[in-house]
């Protein structure tokens, strides 16, 4: 079962909109969890038709992140990202990409990709969202 993470500003009926968006494409949601972090909602869903769900969410205006990326939460201050990068450097685990997904209320949500996801999971377990 593949996992999709959706990051967006909290607003009423948000989860219902997500469900409706993928439902319109005939995608079945197997699991759905969500968490609100300082005005940002991070929802994690598993679905039966992964690519269709990703496409539907993106077309519906949602920031949908595939499971290749690890989502972490960071304090929104200079150098916070650098500290995470330092862990990867020390572990000799090159980061493939680092993308800031959203910043609000003093917290940043960041997507990381590396060639060795399992090792990366261990490195960021204290800040891992999904």
């Amino acid at each position: 079962m593949k996992q999709i993470s959706i990051v967006c500003e909290d607003r009423p009926n948000l989860i219902a909109e997500m469900i409706e968006t993928v439902g319109r494409e005939g995608v079945n949601i197997e699991t759905l969890d969500s968490d609100a972090i300082h005005g940002t909602v991070v929802a994690v869903m598993t679905v039966d038709r992964y690519d269709d769900a990703l496409r539907a969410l993106a077309q519906g205006g949602f920031v949908a992140i595939s499971e290749e990326a690890l989502l972490i939460r960071l304090e929104d201050r200079p150098g916070a990202l650098a500290e995470i990068a330092h862990r990867f450097k020390d572990a000799d685990l090159p980061l493939r990409s680092v993308r800031i997904i959203r910043r609000s209320g003093g917290t940043g949500i960041v997507a990381l990709t590396t060639a060795r996801t399992d090792e990366a999971l261990a490195l960021v377990k204290d800040v891992l969202i999904a």
Partner: protein
């Protein structure tokens, strides 16, 4: 063979739509103020600028000579050294791809640093080129956060940085602090680095304003991409990329069947867009562009005054025609083709946008607000 009547009608309908929508084009940086009718005659020929504009091609139906003149003008405007090279691209994205491509070829293990206000197409380029990358925080005004950049580069100081700098961000028109970026690289004693500048819109503005920030080759960049269809205006998307020739030479590859050394990204290349750019540069001239930009910025100030009256918190960077303000309702965003991001929207006072144009939009914003108040 003539088209059937119903197809001709469809084309008439399309023209009506495009002409109408052009009147309400406020949020995107495309100028609609141009007249290239003297060039229409060239639509009758299968012209193609395949290959390097500086190398003679076996395909003779080209406009390489005009393209070189266009590049020479841009080289002067961007203060490129004599050792430069470039070509007319299909738009800013191709120029940015070329810049990052050059950086990656020079430093295959390099890390691209770019700010979160960078245009989304750069993420696609990074994926296409399979280059490692780290997004750096932006300041609220859209410029790259130098503290965040410094700390992140410091950790990877053994890896050559390829800095993707914005000379005018898409949403806020912010110019990254190139002097500050250079200073970080110098402070960290990083000798091997590459700086590409994305100057899509502002690359044709900053040469003509009285006191521009550091933005061009004088500021230490290695390559720059400027759009042609934005401030200059063109019916076809186009742009210019310029780079240091010594870097370009490293990626040159011989392509024998067209008898040219092809260092461009695409094979066949548009031969008409260099003519459009040449026509615009020759007909308007530098003084014409200076006056044009002065007018654009004055219209931006007019828009700020009108939007302030509606308490929509408008602002702009000193040398940018991008006016940022509080996001209006979706029907108005659609009607005026405004670009939006989160809670902000922007309008851009491109050459075709006059004060009356702004006034019409502001009047519709005011009417929308009145309707909202009376319904609540």
């Amino acid at each position: 063979m003539p088209l059937p009547d119903q197809d001709l009608q469809r084309l008439d309908d399309l023209e009506t739509t495009v002409a109408r929508e052009t009147q309400e084009l406020l949020g995107y940086p495309c100028s609609a103020e141009f007249d290239y009718s003297p060039l229409y005659r060239f639509l009758r020929y299968p012209m193609n600028n395949v290959g390097d504009p500086f190398v003679e091609s076996n395909y003779k139906l080209n406009t390489h000579e005009f393209e070189r003149e266009v590049l020479a003008e841009f080289a002067e405007l961007t203060r490129a050294p004599a050792d430069h090279w470039g070509y007319v691209t299909n738009g800013g994205t191709e120029g940015n791809m070329y810049g990052i491509f050059l950086g990656r070829e020079l430093f295959p293990d390099g890390l691209v640093y770019y700010s979160e206000d960078t245009h989304y197409s750069v993420s696609k380029i990074l994926r296409c080129l399979h280059v490692r990358n780290i997004m750096i925080k932006s300041l609220p005004d859209g410029r790259i956060d130098l503290d965040d950049l410094r700390e992140t580069v410091r950790i990877h100081r053994d890896v050559p940085p390829i800095v993707f700098a914005n000379v005018g961000t898409t949403m806020k028109g912010a110019v990254d602090d190139l002097a500050g970026i250079r200073s970080i690289l110098d402070d960290l004693a990083i000798q091997r680095h590459y700086i590409h500048a994305d100057a899509a819109l502002h690359g044709m503005l900053l040469p003509f304003v009285p006191d521009p920030p550091p933005w061009n080759f004088d500021a230490g960049i290695d390559s720059i991409s400027i759009s042609g269809h934005k401030l200059i205006g063109s019916p076809l998307p186009c742009g210019v990329v310029l780079a240091l020739k010594r870097n370009v030479d490293r990626i040159a590859r011989s392509v024998e069947y067209i008898g040219t050394l092809d260092t461009t990204l695409s094979g066949s290349r548009n031969a008409l867009t260099p003519l459009f750019l040449w026509h615009a540069l020759r007909s308007r001239g530098r003084e014409g562009f200076r006056q044009l930009i002065e007018r654009c910025l004055a219209t931006a100030d007019h828009a700020i005054g009108r939007l302030e009256a509606l308490d929509l918190h408008p602002w702009r960077h000193e040398n940018s025609p991008i006016v940022v303000f509080d996001r209006p309702s979706m029907p108005l965003v659609r009607r005026w083709q405004l670009a939006v991001q989160g809670r902000i929207a922007h309008l851009i006072t491109m050459p075709h946008v006059g004060r009356e144009h702004v006034d019409r939009m502001v009047a519709s914003l005011a009417a929308d607000r009145m309707a909202e108040v009376s319904s609540s």
